[in-house]
Amino acid sequence: MFTHFFAAPVQVSAHCDLPCGVYDPAQARIEADSVKAIMEKTAASGDADFKARALIIKEERSDLVKHHLWVLWTDYFKPPHFEKYPQLNTLFNEATKLAGAGGTKASWDVAVADKLLAKIEEISVIFWETKKAA
């Protein structure tokens, strides 16, 4: 009789699209995509509460992009990678700057988010080349 009042038990997740503990530039890309989406949505919104919240979330997610890039830079890539791809350090430096106070953290310009996404894509291409070579 309880079935009339009780639904079947369920599992609810605090879901990520990617498995934790695995290196993947997609983690940085997902957050950078979100930063871009926040810029677009906020520009279209007339709701002051939403805009105020968007400002905070955009800063958080920009920091998260930086975090994911730093993990790749410092933990995944090894000295032989930096020898083979001499542009790698500069790429990371430019990408993390684009996610920082001089980039998407402060800016509302979608073009800045696009630049950040392009840098992440360059890093991603190298990442997958090193994966194939490994």
Partner: protein, 118 residues
């Protein structure tokens, strides 16, 4: 109006920390109207590969800022997980808000939740 039913839910993952932790059991009310600032069980849209995402627990921020009948939901943990701010997720349609979270079942009462969730 949708029929209301009570149910239990088991929490996985870290996106609702510090409010909820892995292994928490929740008493939820299906069909209940969401409330701003409260937790809800929601159906997230399929992922970019077209695979269904599991049911999720999120916090209701408010109505869809674009004026639809949907709800804007957030994760509590800024470092992990998905929410309406994630590109490709956005507002959850009203039909995707499945239940309101009534309470977190204290660990000493876990014996009383259904065996499948113990």
């Amino acid at each position: 109006m949708r029929p209301r039913k009570l149910g239990f839910a088991l929490v996985h993952g870290r996106s609702m920390e510090p409010a909820l932790h892995e292994g928490d059991r929740l008493l939820v009310l299906y069909g209940a109207r969401p409330r701003r600032g409260k937790l809800a069980i929601v159906r997230l849209p399929d992922d970019p590969a077209g695979c269904p995402r599991p049911l999720a627990v999120k916090r209701i921020f408010g109505r869809d800022p674009e004026g639809g009948d949907g709800w804007w939901v957030e994760r509590d943990n800024p470092r992990e997980g998905l929410d309406s701010w994630t590109a490709g997720v956005g507002a959850i349609p009203a039909a995707g808000i499945r239940a309101r979270v009534l309470l977190r079942v204290p660990a000493r009462l876990h014996l009383w939740v259904p065996a499948r969730l113990r």
